[in-house]
Symmetry: C2
Subunit: 94 residues, 2 copies
């Protein structure tokens, strides 16, 4: 199985709200993908800190996700609101 | 390094708010611990889904955390509001 943690910051709470809005459709469609076990966007106690936490059956499922139409359409729009670096961690486990 | 994902659900948004309230002190004190690199409580787009996402320098730092006074005092109170099982994942990485 694959657990993805993609943690990032945005400029302010208004941008955080906008990312959460844009992410709704991405969450909905990602959860329908074959091999998805969990997928959500989380907001930290620091409201400008956001985290995609995802669980995939295997690497193939995760690769199909990042090539999917909804990901390649929506994520670039979210990317524009990210400030600083993304802390992306991908863990494989049994 | 050690990344912890502790994901759980609570009964309703009022309980989610209560957990976030209780977690404030736990977050503050955990971030001061030696070997802590990040520590926050995140709330999902499903507001009753909460996630502690933590990063520790090594296993010793993480073990010291779960034995700490603030953890052993606060976490049992949070535990009472958790419904169903906790999805706890602990990843070691370089």
């Amino acid at each position: 199985m694959v657990r993805v943690n993609s943690m990032f910051n945005v400029k302010d709470e208004a941008d955080a709200q906008q990312v959460k809005q844009m992410a709704r459709q991405l969450i909905e469609q990602s959860r329908l993908e074959e091999g998805n076990l969990s997928y959500d966007l989380f907001q930290g106690s620091t409201p400008t800190c956001l985290l995609f936490c995802e669980t995939w059956l295997d690497n193939d499922a995760f690769k199909a996700h990042v090539a999917s139409q909804h990901y390649t359409t929506i994520m670039p729009k979210i990317q524009k609101l990210i400030v600083g670096n993304k802390d992306l961690k991908i863990f494989e486990y049994e």
